[in-house]
Amino acid sequence: MAAFGSFVLLIALALAAYNLFAGAVALRLIATGQPARISPERLADTARRAGIAGFVAVTGAAFALVWLVFANDFSIAYIAEHSNRALPAAYKFAALWSGQEGSLLLWAWLLGAYGFVLRLLHKTDVKLYAYAGTILAGVQVFFLTLVNFVAPPFSLLRGAIPDDGNGLNPLLQYPEMVIHPPMLYLGYVGFTVPFAFALGALMMRYPGEKWIKITRSWTLVTWLFLTMGIFLGMHWAYAVLGWGGYWGWDPVENASFMPWLTGTAFLHSVMMQERKGMMKSWNVWLIFSTFALSILGTLLTRGGLVSSVHAFAQSSIGNWFVAFLVIVLAVCIFTYVLQRSHLQSEQRLESLVSRESSFLFNNLVLLAACFVILWGTLFPILSEYVQGTKVTVGAPFYNRVAVPIGLFLLFLTGVGPLLPWRSTSLRAVRRNFVIPSIALWGTLIVCLVAGVKPWHDGSFDAGNFYALVAFGLSAGVFTAILSEYLRGANVIRKQTRRNLFSAMYLLIRRNTRRYGGYLIHIGVVIVVVGLAGSAFNRNSESELTLNSTMSVGPYTLKCVGFTQDSNLNYNSEYALLDVYRGGKKQFQMTPEKRVYLASQQPQTMVAIHSVPGWDLYVVYEGTNPDTGNPIIKAFLNPLVSWIWAGVIFIVLGTFVALTPNLAPATVALRVAAAQPSTAEAAVRGGD
């Protein structure tokens, strides 16, 4: 099976190379109109089919690797390193991406899968898809070169074949790890598709903005995968790493966040290009940057460039990625310089008080956040290169800069929907802002009365201050979005005499992109409320003897036993803790510590009891070597579950935004195009 895997990987590389070469030649022939012995359209079609065939070949290689993992074939170095006999089946799948070679194969397979769908849909716009498919093939050639010659997953183990493998990294032996990396990779890899469309559209000087409509679903789906990947990673860090938090500004976390920021900026600003033909250069560079940051993310995760708890596979492969990044940027710059005359804006920004300007600010803020994070992530590398000493940039730096930026972004999330397109008067703005402002100030007052004060023992408390601002802004933004739904639903209600809920449904169906987007914004508000809760985290640590207790917040934890267990994969020890509140026993928690047999590595399994107001988060830190008693650390983390609830809204909103609109209730298309005055009649029918 290893020979089969290696062989089909070579075939896949040959097919990708043919796809790139034949596709480029065919497109050149079509563009220049030069005569050729073979029809360029036919040549382009063979290139497209080579892309489809390449996906089948990479699928064969991925299948072969998974097969070998399940067959416990430890003659393969990768499998001996990342799997073992007792590993549960779900985690055997995870072995595919737990190491460098496997994760590069996963990259190539996912890119092949995206390309497969793209090439099947080529009739949507044959020429544009041919350009996009050829660019995808170029990226695929790079990854397949890596898995064939630099990090081959089917390499044989040197020396004696062991009876059992080293096992999967214990940090990865957690249910979310079966879906978090593929989600993240679907996001990283997926941004190759809008990148390829944007670069292709620029190369061919695509007339109009229809390519944006064509790529909208691709971009949204990719963005959703990356969003889910990031939040699943946060939940994994929260539940597995045992430090009580979910985001540590680790370089690899940052690496996933940066393309998300630029991708989010692109999703917003591209609407201006679609509607008004504005910001074309900006958008092209946003999607170029997003792709480059995705490659940088893969480099940081897999290239050994930075130290991170998440960088599971490190090696000197970084040089290849750096070279690839340089080539990608060179191609982007060259194409942009050559075709920049095609990217002239058709209109200018009419007013600072408009939806357009709010998008522009939103973009600037998102890019500022991205730059700060990029700077903080790369600073240790740059400082080592320049000064010879590695200067670590920690969470305080990011929090000091990113939290105010994030709050300003939240503010813009509320302001944007209230501003109409083009321009409006300040009087109208004031009128639209009255109710959200009341909600904002009302919430601030309620919070202050409830004891959320930005000072503590006479000194300024930045955490509380930011939390207070976050709660106030969240209330304002939520009200602004709700008022948008109600305003729209009321118009429909008056037009169609439906009840409010039915009108709301019709409103959303008529403009799924806008109202799905608002649902995503509500999700973001809920997430921010959850994040703000971290300002009020509490914790307590204690060595517990039998029947002794410790307290955190309203809870009392009583140790009623500690015991040990073992299975084929790991040995574990855990404490049995009865949890009391108000003198009454509520439930029992069992924080655990495992030692995995194959790797002899320890791993914490946190016990979490989650309610809407807070999480009780209990860690078994081990035993005191002198007394043998367990050491327990308990956290009370307010509002954490709001973060995960917010993600549900974001996912729902994205699905709504992906749903096609109902046709507008007009007779627009029946109006004779030659009569300008009929344009008004065409649109009067409603939205």
Partner: protein, 92 residues
């Protein structure tokens, strides 16, 4: 699966993929060059959508009357110019 069997299976797959890729096919998708008229027709749809949005936002109370009338006049003017160019190209 032995090494030889693996290579044979891989070679058979390669042959199948090669046949699929290079099979002479006359019914491949083709497309005429996009013209200025195509672009204008797409743009017309977008302008109608912008006008519908403007009307809807006005009804939802986001625009005062005078702002709405100004904006609508601007958009209608843009649409009229576009429709005139479409008509000109269609007659040419």
């Amino acid at each position: 699966m032995t090494e030889l069997q693996g290579v044979i299976a891989g070679a058979m797959l390669a042959l199948a993929l090669g046949i699929y890729t290079f099979w002479p096919e006359n019914a491949f998708a083709n497309q005429r060059e996009k013209t200025r008229l195509d672009y204008l027709l797409e743009r017309k749809e977008q302008l109608y959508e912008n006008l519908r949005d403007l009307n809807f936002e006005h009804r939802a109370g986001k625009y005062p009357e005078e702002d709405f009338l100004t904006q609508r006049a601007l958009l209608e003017d843009e649409t009229a110019q576009l429709l005139a160019e479409i008509e000109h190209l269609q007659q040419a």
